[in-house]
Amino acid sequence: MNADGRQQVVDPVPDADAEDAVASDRGGSGGKRQMPDWATSAIRLVLVLVASLVVFGLLLVAKGANPIDGYRAMWESVTRDSTAFGDVLVRAVPYLLGALAVILPARAGLFNIGGEGQLVLGAIGAMWAADALNQSMSRPVTLVLMALAGMVFAAAWAAIAGVLKLVAGTNEAISTLLLNYLATLLLGWLVFEQWKDPGSTGFPRTRALTEVETLPVLFGRVHIGVPIAVLVAVGVWAFLKYTAWGFQLSVLGGNPEAARRAGFRTGMLSMGALAAGGAIAGLAGMLHLSGVESNLRPGIMVGYGFTAVLAAWMVRQSPIRAIVSSFLLAAIAIGGNGLKISEGLSAAAVNILMAILLLAVLGWGVRPGARNT
């Protein structure tokens, strides 16, 4: 997938310039070979996709279900009408932004598995801002402030892991993971006790957002978070590619020793990357609250943070291609409804398909020489 030569050297930064590599591939850099790089890559990806579908189908057979019917049910759940397609787009938003929250720290060599918690904190922050503003501002101002609050809350949450790493050397993969459980309980505390809507006679949720606190809708249930998420993906790509900070992050991720010798403030860089990742996840939490759920309630976005990790790694941390992977995973997730209803299978079974896809991509998605060794 990378441009010529890059895959021969030890590539410290997984697929650092993958998207421009795609561009240069198109420019014919693979001309020395009989088949251009993009073609072999594409064939490889198609094979990976097909193999994953076959393996999942075999598991359905083992369960006693008809895989053809299963796939048809999934396909119909996703494609039956614009509403279904819209549901996929809406679901892809937290997956994509959650993936970007993984990708940005990963450039600095940090593993953020705290997307779950950061998404929740984003929603909490947005709700807090909405309450604080109390409809005193116009809709755009309210929404922007809600987004900012969500981003700040989630960035601060992620920064806990950053601080622990900086001060105590605590591994961030573990601390972000543990923080997820605390975030869920914090949400429970808020919706069951602190922020419970008094009008709901004990129903565990906050009040519903009002008009000025709700995202504008493009069509059906598709809110403007969808294009925003895509813009953020492009922004992250540009940031990593064109800014000094982006460069420093890549150096840090590739060779921490070199980064230190170059005089980078590595601690602050790591911290910044984690916090920035958290902020992006927090934006997703705000968009999801304001665009979809309206009330803060228990169980909001459960599992999305983990799925986002899959989305990030499925495309080897390319911000641009994460748009595709999150859409694909969202389609699988929504397609799972079809399995659930028509085939009576557990919707969680689609986790298998997501997992196999990622495993196939991780193991066989690229030429052996281009692997991240």
């Binding site: 940090l110 601390s175 993971l177 309980l185 557990s346 986790n351 193991g363 991240n372």
Partner: protein, 304 residues
């Protein structure tokens, strides 16, 4: 109250001990496996299902081990043969376990298993405090008492353990001696998966005595966190597992006593304890980490 918490610590901690010791062995060889959660899930289901089909919880536990190993081999294949990123692979393996158990476990939700009974050890179980805390449990809990020193001895006193640790510390040196670090790692991954499976089996057939979707509920991830806490030492795992589970028991105990604190804040206690203790110990722990493992977290792969 202290006794009740201590009993709760051991009862609830056993599944974590199995999974944590397994993960310790895997990480000692230089491989981190977040698929631990998935291995616990498949172990829990396999033990439950086989326990139901055969009526014998021991066969169930064996099936749990086999299932845990089977899933961990997927991790091994990706990481050792295909050179994939360990953390991403581990997470995907957990998703695989979650999905597979949701798919195949559906029909077992309604069935009851013949569970492991409690074996009070004659004599010992009547010792004040120690008796109820340590000697009034299901047989798998006793097995965990044996496992911890055995794993310690294996890792730090046996020849194979030395090779396994060398695979985690200096795989290159091992290579010059004509020993393939990968063999040690394959074995370590399999043992880790098997023990995680056994932990799941303990959860479903001895402790909670039920199967429900995603019933492991993060215990496998906690086990991975405990490994750092324990400085890659099985004895530390025992301490950490009992600390976590003791914190759960404490939380419930505080609730039962009507402590004037929100149940959500109380429920956060065990996780907060792990994070805080981990942070307090992390500086020291860094030096205890198997060397090739330290590269894992740099989003890279096993270096052989």
């Amino acid at each position: 109250m202290i006794e009740a918490i201590a009993i709760g610590a051991v009862r609830g901690g056993t599944s974590l001990v199995f999974a944590g010791v397994g993960e310790t062995i895997a990480e000692r060889s230089g491989v981190i496996n977040l698929g631990c959660e998935g291995s616990m899930l498949v172990g829990a289901l396999a033990a439950y299902a086989v326990g139901i089909e055969t009526g014998n919880p021991w066969l169930g536990a064996l099936a749990g081990v086999v299932a845990g190993i089977a899933l961990s081999l997927v991790h091994g294949l990706l990481v050792l043969v295909r050179g994939a990123n360990q953390i991403a692979t581990g997470l995907a393996v957990t998703f695989l376990g979650l999905g597979a158990t949701a798919l195949f476990g559906q029909s077992y939700v309604s069935q009851g298993v013949e569970p492991f009974d409690t074996w009070a050890i004659p004599g010992l179980s009547s010792i004040p405090f120690l008796g109820p805390v340590f000697f009034d449990h299901d047989p798998l809990t006793y097995l965990s008492f044996v496992l911890v020193p055995a794993a310690w001895w294996f890792l730090f006193r046996s020849g194979s353990g030395l090779k396994l640790r060398a695979a985690g510390e200096r795989p290159g040196v091992l290579g010059t001696m004509g020993v393939d670090a990968r063999v040690s790692r394959w074995i370590a991954i399999a043992v880790g998966g098997g023990l995680a499976g056994l932990g799941g089996a303990q959860l479903s057939t001895a402790f909670a005595r039920t199967w429900s979707e995603n019933m492991v509920a993060g215990r496998g991830f906690i086990a991975v966190a405990l490994v750092i806490f324990a400085a890659w030492n099985p004895v530390g795992i025992l301490v950490g597992a009992y600390l976590f589970s003791g914190a759960v028991a404490l939380e419930l105990e505080l609730q039962a006593r009507g402590t004037d604190v929100s149940i959500f804040l109380l429920a956060a206690v065990p996780y907060a304890v792990v994070i805080i203790v981990l942070s307090l110990l992390s500086r020291r722990r860094k030096f205890a980490a198997p060397e090739s493992l330290s590269t894992v977290f740099d989003t890279s792969v096993v270096r052989v």
